[in-house]
């Protein structure tokens, strides 16, 4: 069993410790007997996604995000092809914005998006940083983390999180957050999101096994630091929610 995990623009799109998402995923896969290779695709290089089984991008500054978008736009077909042949894709932070039809920046300029999602994003004058408690659409239990965004997304019909009890959703407080379409996943929740949410990691591991027709072992390793860190964060945020 062998998988390639591809990190797009790690040197550019890594504001909130996002590289850790890949470290966590790799270790979980390796602990299940998968040979998981990490590959990096730096900004301005020619991305070869033909061998990628999991493709990830994290959050960048708004100006960096636009440079990345301009570079990636001609390669949108490669990303779509990877999805079509059974790769999973996760974009977090404002990398999510790239997946839609367009991004309108603070000066009102519209940037063409990758068009993998039928939504549009508009940047806002202010940021809406906030701790998050979210209800996942695809797995059980609450998700936790933080969002540090300055944009709203309109037109998402299939959010990754159906509602938030804490934090700002795609277009309003408490509303649905993120985007999912097949095995394309996107969210503004950082943390990093897989570090903070072992259940999301488990879900992705399950999908990667399913996409390759592998059977998930019955016995799964325990990750007590992940589990307790999640429980403590949920406890602290919930206490805050109750006031």
């Amino acid at each position: 069993m062998k998988l390639q995990l591809t990190h797009l623009c790690p040197e550019a799109m890594s504001l909130y410790g996002e590289y850790a998402n890949l470290l966590i995923l790799r270790r979980h896969l390796e602990d299940l007997g998968v040979e998981a290779e990490l590959a990096s695709v730096p900004l301005y290089s020619a991305p070869d996604l033909s061998q990628a089984d999991f493709i990830y991008m994290g959050c960048g500054t708004e100006r960096t995000q636009k440079a990345v978008l301009q570079w990636l736009l001609p390669h949108a077909g490669g990303l779509r092809a990877a999805l079509d042949r059974g790769a999973a894709v996760l974009f977090t932070g404002n990398a999510m914005d790239l997946l839609g039809r367009s991004v309108t920046d603070r000066d009102g300029k519209s940037w063409e998006g990758l068009g993998l999602g039928d939504f549009t994003t508009a940047e806002t004058e202010k940021r809406t940083p906030h701790d998050v408690i979210a209800t996942p659409a695809l797995w059980e239990g609450a998700a936790v983390g933080f969002m540090n965004k300055c944009s709203t997304a309109s037109g998402v019909t299939s959010p990754l999180f159906t509602a938030l009890s804490m934090g700002f959703g795609n277009d309003r407080e408490g509303g649905g957050e993120g985007f999912v379409s097949g095995d394309l996943y996107a969210t503004h929740i950082t943390g990093p999101v897989l570090v903070k949410n072992p259940a999301f990691t488990d879900y992705l591991v399950g999908r990667l096994f399913a996409l390759h027709g592998w059977d998930l072992p019955e016995a799964r390793p325990a990750y007590p630091h992940e589990a307790v860190a999640y429980a403590v964060t949920l406890r602290e945020l919930s206490a805050r929610l109750r006031g």
């Binding site: 550019a12 500054t61 708004e62 440079a67 940021r127 540090n148 300055c150 992940e226």
Partner: protein, 450 residues
Amino acid sequence: MRMLLAIVICKLLRFIGKLVGKGSSLPGRYALKLCPDVLGRVRLPKHIIAVTGSNGKTSTVEMIAAVLRAGGREVVYNAEGSNQIEGVTTLILTHCTLGGKMRGDVLLLESDERYARYSFRYFHPTHFVITNLYRDQLTRNGHPEWVYDAILPAIHPDTTLVLNADDPLVACFARGHAPEKVKWFGLEQWNGDSEEHRGVYNDGALCPVCKHPMEYDFYHYAHIGAYRCPACGHCRPKPDFAVTELDLAAGRLVLEGDTPIQLSFRSIYNVYNILAAWSASRLCGVEKDTIAGVISRYILKNGRMVRFTLGQHRGTLLISKHENSVAYDTNLRYVREMGGRCSVLVIVDAISRKYFTGETSWLWDIDFDQLACDTVERVYLAGTYVNDLALRFDYSAVPREKTACFADIGQAVEAIRDSGDEDLYVVTCFSDRDKLLSRVQVERQEAKEA
């Protein structure tokens, strides 16, 4: 008339506030309600120096104040750290005559980087020192470019910018500013530099101007160093004020090739604080010898380094702001470079003392691998977020058998007290400092280094 009323009310409220131990923002807030443009009406001193940036503001301001006073200037500054417009208003009006003339030769302001544009709406600094822009409190600040964009509107064309030449983002403030109104400070190459970037992330990877890859001749630390962008030409300017020699181990540096200074605290941070203070003081006309004399005798009084005893351990608390990986990295580097047999306690309990958050992604930006060395015997992790810390360490080069985790800080302190006699370094934030200091025997003199 409104100005007079604002001054009187401000002085009165400040007087009462001091009696009852209240903060310094409220009098200014009321004064601004009475006279919103009062800061544009009062007559300010000849020199107005503002200091902003992610790290080192308070230390730099205190150092500048000490130097200028030694140089015979009467300095008014916000020693209480009230660095938003209300606090600045209180400071200015309480030092005004009823006629609206501010006393003193120099108004010195530590300025919050996000709110500087509000503080400087009705007046502007003659000199604006910008120390650095790092990832700092990103839960509030977003990211360094966001902070850059927030500072930019605070810059007046008549202001002389005093900029850190070694920070590629700070250097962007000079773009579009009259060149004769930009002064640069920087550290020249020294033997602590590296050719390769050190750390978990590199905010100097891309040019802040054109977003193409940058090249470095050398890194001092993080993204601070000698950078150049082959695509657009953005590069480190030649400093007007430079540390030309540095020997951190010996605690000595030389400024402008001719002025040696003894370091009271051997940290690269302190070098930059000194550089910023030196530059601002020189621009105000203080003699080199006067500055050197003050700085060589200068002892940091901000409680960021505290000596203590715990059992058989000689302890040092190194304050490292949570949500600020550069501050952590610098202190971890200090621990590693001190070289003696030691253990390290890292506490993450309350992430901020000012607001609530459960955000811990910044732990992944810290280069904890620096603790993977023979001299570090144990790494104790403690606090509410100990499992987040432990998880971070699971992915570091520090052997797992060297770490011990305690959700309860008291239990961590007891465990350390009851075993060993190696030196102990505690790395934590202001928000968690007293949870340690209340449990150890603190030495009375702070921050003194032989």
